[in-house]
């Protein structure tokens, strides 16, 4: 699963730590999601999408092979 959290963060000008605090996880978790080492749960993905005020699929997209 791909995501463009890093781009969205840059647009909104918030750090990993800010985003982590808004969705209630650790900064390490945001970091591993961004580097695609960890796939978030649906709940967390929805929370992240809500922070960026965008629909889920604008931020997370399926890759080939998923």
């Amino acid at each position: 699963m791909k995501n463009n959290i890093r781009v969205e963060r840059a647009i909104k000008n918030i750090t990993q730590a800010d985003l982590a605090e808004k969705v209630g996880v650790s900064r390490q978790t945001i970091n591993t999601i961004e580097s695609q080492k960890y796939v978030p749960s649906t709940v967390l993905a929805l929370k992240i999408a809500r922070v960026f005020e965008k629909p889920l699929e604008d931020i997370f997209t399926l890759e080939e092979g998923d």
């Binding site: 990993q16 650790s26 390490q28 978790t29 970091n31 591993t32």
Partner: protein, 142 residues
Amino acid sequence: MKNHFLFPYWCRFLGWALFLFHIPVVIFKDNLGFRFDEDSQAQGLFNSHHVFFILTALLMTVGLFLVAFAKEKIEDEQIWSVRLESLRWAIYINYAILIVSLVFLDDVHHIMELNLWVPLIFFIVRFRWVIFRLNRLAGREN
């Protein structure tokens, strides 16, 4: 995410304290009045051997247990999945060691003591190592 059945964060420090408690007990065991000769062994439930075992091996186990199952400062779903993964590895290793030692050793008492600690120690080491790596990774980003 709600995580049930975990001890509060401060239990980690209590756990390490309990784990280290055996060191003074072992050093000062003569001053504390423990007698390990044959006579004292036979008497009742709370003989020297028994109390010494409770103060050392058992407190170490309780300490490790608290360390292993105390909450992290920030509990999130990734920590939860790392914890589960580490537990799975700990059980694998434990049973591998248990089966090999049951086949090749005849010392059931020591096998049981090994079994008391191996899963907890392996779990703690693996869990902390993964969290250390995650922290390092996140530290490099900023």
